[in-house]
């Protein structure tokens, strides 16, 4: 069953642009990305859109559909009424290159600043992990780096000035993953707070809401990391224990 859908797509470059109205054919079983491709093939050959796997695994086609950050390839047209206007805009937190394509290099710069896995003196082949330890970080490894979490996070979405001091949920999750790793020797709690801005997070859970891999970013990564940071920096009993030599303090990871 086909119908003609009303689409409003943001067109422009270097920040300047506008929402342009289109009427496009939609067929049964299609997703928003299919319709954007049809639009490109039939009416707007110069429409820029980034995509790759069409299966929700590459994280390329991040956009905002009716204002919500989503993957275009995973948003079914059947979730909209036939007379509904579907608005598609580029993800708002990052600079736009053209139309729906944004420059997400902020994320790669942040990724480089996270200190790598530190196995201490262990030689390759010596490390062994039990399933229950693997399981914990496996959830975080599902991340496809679509950066919808970093896009929706109001810390940088609404406050561009916080970008230098805040790594965003995706990379705070990476720090949490390493901090929970049984073979990792570094203490990452101080750098999580000082260098990567964990204290900015006010746990409003938007990162979790938009994650297409359904990773419980807030409950399983950010809050556990916050609790660990409390133990390192704000807990008076731990401080006293460390002073009395009861609590062992590990070495902080050097800042990036």
């Amino acid at each position: 069953m086909s119908y003609q859908a009303k689409f409003r797509v943001w067109r422009g470059d270097a920040g300047e642009g506008e929402l342009v109205d289109y009427t496009v054919e939609v067929n049964e079983g299609e997703v928003v990305l299919d319709v954007i491709h049809r639009l490109q093939a039939t009416q707007a050959p110069d429409l820029a859109v980034r995509w790759n796997c069409k299966a929700g695994k590459c994280g390329s086609c991040s956009a905002e559909i009716n204002g919500m950050p989503r993957l275009m390839c995973m948003t079914r047209m059947s979730t909209f009424a036939e007379d509904e206007v579907v608005t598609v805009t580029p993800i708002r937190t990052f600079p736009v290159i053209r139309d729906l394509v944004t420059d997400v290099s902020f994320n790669y710069e942040k990724a480089r600043q996270i200190p790598a896995f530190d196995p201490g003196d262990a030689k390759p082949g010596e490390l062994r992990m039990m399933q229950e330890d693997v399981q914990r970080s496996q959830e975080f490894r599902k991340c496809i780096e679509c950066f919808l979490c970093n896009n929706v996070c109001h810390v940088i979405r609404d406050h561009e000035e916080n970008k230098p001091a805040f790594a965003g949920p995706r990379f705070l999750m990476r720090i949490a993953e390493l901090e929970m790793h049984p073979a990792d020797r570094s203490d990452r709690r101080n750098i999580a707070q000082e260098d990567h801005g964990l204290g900015f997070c006010n746990i409003t859970k938007c990162c979790t809401e938009v994650c297409p891999e359904h990773i419980k970013i807030t409950d399983n990564a950010l809050i556990p990391l916050k609790e660990r940071v409390v133990g390192r920096r704000y807990d008076p009993l731990v401080w006293l224990g460390a002073k009395l030599g009861i609590v062992k303090k590990s070495e902080d990871t050097p800042s990036a």
Binding site: G12, D13, A14, G15, E16, G17, E64, N66, G67, M68, P69, E84, T87, T89, P90, R92, T93, F94, P95, V96, I97, R98, T102, D103, M130, E132, D133, R136, V152, H154, V155, R157, D158, H159, E160, N162, M180, H181, P182, D184, G199, F200, C201, N202, I203, T204, K205, C206, E209, V210, D219, P224, E227, R228, V229, V230, G231, R233, Y234, D235
Partner: protein, 266 residues
């Protein structure tokens, strides 16, 4: 050879606060209405100073537990009356209510709810917040949110006291077993309060979340798994217990004031 200039790096200039078309305002409005009504009711009741104890059935409302002032009605002070007569603005349960309030105020679920509802930071996901500046929980007073684990410890103690009160509601003046509708309401409230307290994120951290290796601590791993399962519903417990506290308190108040009589089961 000519070069092509890279485009200027600017965000897409979209003036609308949000392009969301769903009812995103529902949640913040629901939270503001619910929390304001609850705080109003709790303040009124905890400062009322009467209708909190039913001597005949040993019912004590959680808003007055433990009752520790010399003003407490005879029989309602299960742990002594070590505080003198208090001014009208201090509740009779002065040793527990401030900690319970701080436990909920610093709770990770409530933080999400009131940051969205009262502070619009942000009002909803992908909706522009109205504030010009944002510093998060890095400075005073919000840095105090990091003391949540201590308020959790206080809440565990108060939950134990509430459990004692609920069990007492199953006894008569001679210590024999009796049961009324009020006993069941107080017991149900305590079970939900334990659900809320044990599903807390700080509890999850203390029980086992702080460990680097689960395999070296199998018992704590098991405990962490159980708390994690409860933790998935922490937000639901947070809201349900607001209701159960009001139901338990209102029931005791109505029975104590003689408005309704307590149906006896045993």
């Amino acid at each position: 050879m000519s070069t092509v200039e890279a485009p200027t790096k600017k965000r897409a200039q979209i003036t609308a606060k949000t392009l969301r078309t769903d009812n995103w305002l529902n949640y913040p409005i629901f939270i503001v209405v619910l929390f304001t009504a609850w705080v109003g009711y709790a303040t009124f009741r905890s400062l009322m100073g009467k209708y909190y104890w039913v001597e005949e059935y040993n019912y004590l409302t959680p808003f007055y537990s433990p009752c520790v002032s010399s003003e407490c009605v005879e029989g309602s002070a299960h742990f002594g009356t070590f505080l003198p007569e208090l001014p009208f603005f201090i509740p009779l349960a002065a040793v527990s209510l401030p900690f319970l309030l701080l436990f909920r105020l610093t709770c990770y679920y409530y933080r999400k709810a009131y940051y969205r509802g009262y502070w619009a930071s942000p009002p909803a996901c992908a909706v522009r917040e109205p504030h010009k500046k944002y510093t998060g929980e890095r400075r005073f007073p919000l840095i105090g949110q990091n003391l949540h684990r201590y308020f959790w410890a206080a809440a565990v103690v108060v939950s134990l006291i509430n459990t004692y009160d609920a069990l007492l509601a199953f006894t008569d003046a001679d210590g024999g077993f009796r049961m009324g509708l009020g006993s069941l309401i107080l017991l149900g409230n305590v079970i939900l309060l334990w659900g809320y307290t044990l599903s807390c994120h700080s509890c999850r951290h203390i029980v086992g979340g702080r460990l680097k290796s689960f395999s070296k601590h199998p018992i704590r791993y098991r405990a962490w798994t159980l708390v994690s399962r409860l933790n998935e519903r922490h937000g639901q417990y947070a809201l349900i217990t607001l209701g159960s506290l009001v139901v338990a308190d209102l029931y005791v108040a109505l029975v104590s004031g003689g408005v309704i009589s307590d149906p006896r089961i045993i």
